[in-house]
Symmetry: C2
Subunit: 342 residues, 2 copies
DNA sequence: ATGAAAGCGCTAACAT
DNA sequence: ATGTTAGCGCTTTCAT
């Protein structure tokens, strides 16, 4: 490996001068600068960022702990954050927790000691159980996508997930639905379900617990499976008690739900309306196009990155704050008026 | 920040002994080990990995350069690689190129100087144009998902993309299709199209260039748009010259293609068969379920990570190699026999 | 404007 | 089994 000392010797100067040239300081005369740059080229020198990091205490690296990137929601956030970091020459150290609390804590600890300049943590149910403490040592922490009980001790940028459920409920209510089945990744998405219930309650409608079906993992498969169980139940009920709409806590499960509805010989939305959450790219191109509550994930990524910059600039203790971004209903063809009762 | 020296003083030993304890060396007596561990706990000491990295020349970090994580293909690969790295305590430094050649080269250079222990690069068209050289300095390099002209100078694990196209062509041929339209993200996926053509040519069938439609970006939107153009063309031709099948170079575009077909009042697969490539999670739950050529991406990730371990163990110069993984047709409902001519 | 010296926190190679 | 001495490659004083 060619070091700064090699370049210095070659150019007939000291390490310090080379350092000044490399970092674009203006204190170097044009002549020496040229000599040094020539030496750098000839030797193929690149600065060792680890050594610089040890010296300056800054690594130009941000850690990001995220449940998974196989989920379109998080992959969009990662993509956006990475792009933003790159504009300032920062790098992204990515760790996934995969819904495993122990793993999550391990990742957090090991990223902290890796001297990242800041740490961004995306919400995970398992992590919500034990929110990372704003310890004195360790890099500044920013939280995002925090669905359950955002801690008031840290800066957090998240989406109003309760409102996402609420807006879905309001949309269904406005279409006249009064018997709504829920397919949700529980307990992770319990807040979305609570929002849905709040909206329906405003109309005196309640969702019995037996109409709530668990779809773990937020995949079309699990949505299909949960909806199949729901539809078997439904078929056994008298016509006037039958579900006219399904609220799915993610778009991914909603796609599976729609397939299950069709396989049961029912039509979307004539027999059953379906509404999802997130607005993944496939939602608009599903069959029929999926009504959904869009989550402003890229905006969330941008605001979280802003907090990251602030945290890095300020140094250690980051002031607590809570930014709650508003979701928005995208009415498409998978939802329609409730069929006349009976 | 509490350092090793602090712990040493507190425990009444030297840094070296603390170091031995921290790294689980067996040369420490039970008594001193206990004292040191107590001091570590009291002080809340965590080792500084940057300093260790400078000292050992190893950072326990692997860089991964990938076109994007917003695409399910790459996000699955990233997920798998990250999980594998984590089992050995390694971290993932992620960089995305987003189809931008200049950006790709920048990312490569900056990751190299960050002293990652190894560098994995996923294929990108822009990078294919100038394959990264196996330079003497810089970390060992492994390539994966290399679609165009894998360099013979480096270890590379990729998928036989030409064969993916070929298998799609053979599937359509066996169903009796002779007039096939292509929707592809060109030029990135030109190899897939070449494979398709080779299969059809075995049956004396050729695909005219006017039947090849560009769908940049591999999104349902671009697939929809490309297919709409294709279908307008098709409608102007006499019935006996009309396309009976569409080969889409990705599943994402294929979803858009199917939607466009329906919007033109045609049925999948009765009027037009559709086949995609990749087997993304949504493919099985599309309407109708999408026939596709599955790409063994997780297996690719595993084999690439194996090469990474080998490269890290061996040290600098990695022996060139080429592993080509076989794709596989998943026949589902979106493809069927060609409608009788006329 | 450039040089010399010290040190970031750790590990490695000896010495004891 | 533990202590001592040198660095790793860079940045930061402080001289000149």
């Amino acid at each position: 490996m060619v070091t700064m000392a090699d370049v210095a010797k070659r150019a007939g100067v000291t390490k310090q001068t080379v350092s000044n040239v490399v970092r674009g300081r203006t204190v170097v005369s044009a002549g020496t600068r040229a000599k040094v740059e020539a030496a750098i080229d000839e030797l193929g020198y690149t600065p060792n960022l680890v050594a610089r990091g040890l010296s300056t205490g800054t690594t130009m690296t941000v850690g990001f702990v995220v449940p998974t990137v196989a989920n379109p929601f998080y992959s969009a956030v990662v993509e956006e954050v990475e792009a933003l970091l790159e504009t300032r020459g920062y790098h992204l150290l990515l760790a996934t927790t995969r819904g495993d609390g122990a793993r999550a804590r391990r990742q957090l600890a090991s990223l902290s000691s890796r001297s990242v300049d800041a740490l961004l943590v995306a919400g995970d149910f398992d992590l919500s159980e034990c929110p990372p403490a704003p310890e004195g040592h360790g890099p500044p922490l920013v939280l995002c996508a925090w669905e359950i009980d955002p801690p008031r001790t840290l800066p957090v940028v998240t989406i109003d997930f309760e409102r996402a459920g609420y807006l879905a409920g309001r949309h269904l209510r406005e279409l006249g639905h009064r018997r709504v089945t829920v397919v949700a990744d529980l307990p992770a998405h319990r807040v979305r379900v609570a929002g849905l219930r709040r909206a329906l309650a405003e109309d005196g409608v309640s969702v019995p617990d037996e109409w709530v079906f668990a779809a773990p993992g937020a995949t079309p498969e699990s949505g299909y499976e949960a909806a199949s169980r729901a539809l078997r139940d439904r078929a056994e009920r008298p016509a006037r008690d039958r579900t006219t709409a399904v609220f799915s806590s993610t778009d991914a499960t909603a796609l599976g739900v729609m397939e299950a509805v069709r396989h049961h010989g029912l039509r979307v939305p004539e027999d059953i309306s379906v509404i999802g959450v997130d607005d993944i790219p496939q939602a608009a191109h599903a069959h029929p196009p999926l009504t959904t509550v869009a989550l402003p994930k890229r905006r969330m990524a941008r605001e979280a990155t802003e907090l990251l910059w602030r945290a890095i600039a300020e140094g250690r203790p980051t002031a607590p704050s809570l930014t709650l971004l508003d979701p928005e209903v995208l009415a498409r063809a998978s939802s329609g008026p409730a069929a006349a009762a009976g």
